[in-house]
Symmetry: C2
Subunit: 422 residues, 2 copies
């Protein structure tokens, strides 16, 4: 059917017309709908049976403009095509870590999927100081499997290139190029930040020549390296979780880019949570050290588990499908060394992206509630400055860290785990 | 019209039906045709007026198989689409350095173009010891302009990504991945080499663990870095020249890849010519030093002029289109430093590709006549070993050369310019 923007009335009619949801709803005649419009880009409807609240789905529809701004900022609704394709690929390699899709329509730019009603957005939960014991395990699995199985390490040459072509995602990449890699690093009109930051604080980022060079390199890497299918927006706001389960949502930014991008965005956002809790734990009436130590451990585990899992998938695939190229007597140890060096390069990109994420969330347009919702602006400014300092160091010296432990040490040297702010 | 493989009879009918060639031929009723079938892939016809030999064109048609093998090796004739598109792009940025196209048909997988009858293939000419005073100037211009104007350094984000998508060239890239980056580096059935090379000579390449790792990295770079529209097969056999003019032909391997690939392939082939002339100049009755010194100077000039021209195009574009990102007080010198480091990375790729080209032309399937046509197999083996030694060093230590001069020194340390072989 031709594209039509749904509303709370027509969305029910649309759902009733779908054979795929008959497995969810025992009675399609008695549904109610609620729009949960907290998104910047799309419309999201929760459709639930009046008889049984467990019979429920989510319908997400893209509109041909940026919702947060309005029709004056056009954004092709075809971005939903990337989300639908990526959800299918992620489901193939990580069933149970992405919402189950019941129905998708490229024409209508919509997807009908599992309502994660027993889960909440990770960022909000972490702001409340909740611990997620399975988080590092699940996120590292998601990253290792989606990134390995869509890379040249696994796919044959033809499939990989056909996939790259399918996922050329011009408009959404442009948002990242501008708002993550560029605007926060100069005096852009789009930037928004804590009024308690001084010009001198900002100039430490925006006037530093070496940082500019190293950041321009990161943007170029993002624009030119088609290594694997990225989620493209993998921060703590794109994850829904409870104590038992983790779901990764919203892959509309998906495209083939550098493997370190997904890993770096997640780790950068996690370090922002670490910094925020120097203050948030005080508000919650706790000594900060316990929760912040959990976050640092989660970051450490996330990288180490990701690297181990990615490396193991690669090693196993290599053993099961021997490449004649590696036929020298020392091939086994040489290939292990090749994998190790490749992971080291991914780590370098990871740190550069983590630093970019920390700076852009401090100076750029899109904020993280972890820090931006802190009401005491002086406390917030102390944390903002730490985020800028750490982000800058990671971008400039990303090639000088030989593992996650020195990066954790960097974080604790900037803000000791027991530091209480405010 | 639907695809039809032409022959010497139907090609004349086809030419007569083209309005575009009326500017070339004063009389379309009196033409003769000659197939010059030295290609491995395609059919090439020369069509000339019987009245005036200056009235002449070339028609090149792709067939849906690898011509050198036959119909048993299918290869999509759509490869001509890439050649047609690339010829148009190259003509836009380098008029006079590519043959003028009169007519192109994607459906018929053919192109009708300027007959370069006053020029000869550079490789054959250099084998004869001819000097080309304008070569470095012209090749460096071609590389700098085609590579700059198709990169993110010049194109806007949208055009670049649309172009990347158009130029996904799966089958031809596969040939390079296999025959340049893989097969020569292990005991592959496809390899062909001088019987005078010992297993020990070959094992110095094929059994070296560090070389395998560094070569696997080069292949991955080729497969993942979409930096600019490459010619994709830029060696001395893809160039036609005389003392005054240089034409770059046959861009059917065109795709978006690492900038250093084109530069490295050309420089690697030129170093092979340098090595070959330790023997060829003796056969020609000359002291080798003069011609070989010219080749080294041509290589030096090619890199230095390429780097200067690319850098200047970038600097000028940057000045004329200021990017707000570079707004710090030291922006001018910082951007210059950024350009310098970017060129250094291109140089690193260049050397890795040059080394791959030198080894693949020695051990792989496709040979270069410079060396492979040397009849004295012992002399040829001495040169083969030098090519392997230099290729290996360039691949392994490609990051340790800070300019072309130390690479020239490497060549003369392996074979002094005045060395006479055979």
């Amino acid at each position: 059917m031709a594209y039509e923007q749904l509303n709370e009335t027509t969305v029910i009619e649309y759902i009733r017309g779908l054979p795929e949801v008959k497995s969810v709803f025992s009675d399609l005649s008695d549904l109610h709908v609620r729009e949960i419009g907290d998104g910047n880009l799309n419309y999201v409807y929760i459709i639930t049976s009046n008889k049984d609240p467990n019979e429920t789905v989510v319908l997400k529809q893209a509109v041909p403009f940026l919702r947060i701004v309005g029709e004056s900022w056009p954004l092709p609704k075809e971005r939903m095509t990337f989300e639908i394709m990526a959800l299918e690929t992620e489901e193939r390699y990580c069933p149970g870590l992405v919402p189950k899709v019941y129905h998708a329509s490229h024409e209508m730019s919509l997807v009908v999927m599992q309502n994660l009603k027993d889960h909440a957005v990770l960022r909000g939960e972490m702001n409340q100081g909740k611990v997620f014991p399975k988080l590092a395990e699940d996120i590292s699995t998601f990253m290792a499997r989606t990134l390995f199985y869509t890379s040249d390490r696994f796919l044959d040459h033809r499939t990989k290139k056909e996939e790259v072509k399918k996922y050329i995602n011009i408009d959404l990449c442009k948002i990242t190029e501008d708002f993550v890699f560029s605007h926060p690093f100069y005096r852009s009109d789009t930037n928004v930040y804590n009024e308690k930051l001084s010009q001198a604080d900002i100039d430490l980022v925006q006037k530093d020549g070496e940082l500019k060079i190293r950041q321009a390199e990161m943007k170029y890497i993002f624009m030119t390296r088609a290594e694997a299918l990225l989620h493209g927006d993998l921060h703590t706001g794109s994850i829904m979780a409870n104590a038992d389960e983790t779901y990764i949502i919203d892959p509309e930014f998906a495209f083939f880019g550098p493997i370190g991008f997904d890993v770096g965005l997640y780790i950068g956002n996690s370090f922002l949570a670490y910094l925020a809790h120097a203050h948030r734990q005080v508000l919650l009436g706790n000594e900060p050290v316990e929760y912040r130590t959990w976050i640092l451990g989660m970051i450490r585990d996330t990288w180490n588990l990701f690297a181990q899992k990615f490396e193991r998938l690669w090693a196993e695939h290599h053993s099961a499908n021997p490449e004649p190229f590696w036929d020298q007597p020392t091939a086994e140890q040489d290939h292990a060394e090749y994998r190790k060096r490749s992971l080291a390069r991914i780590f370098e990109d990871t740190l550069g992206v983590a630093g970019s994420a920390m700076i852009r969330r401090t100076l750029g347009l899109a904020k993280v509630s972890d820090i931006a919702d802190i009401e005491d602006l002086d406390s917030r400014a102390r944390i903002d400055r730490m985020a800028l300092e750490m982000g800058k160091e990671l971008i400039i010296n990303r090639n000088r860290y030989d593992g996650i432990d020195p990066v954790i040490s960097l974080a604790t040297s900037i803000s000791p785990a027991d530091q209480a702010i405010g």
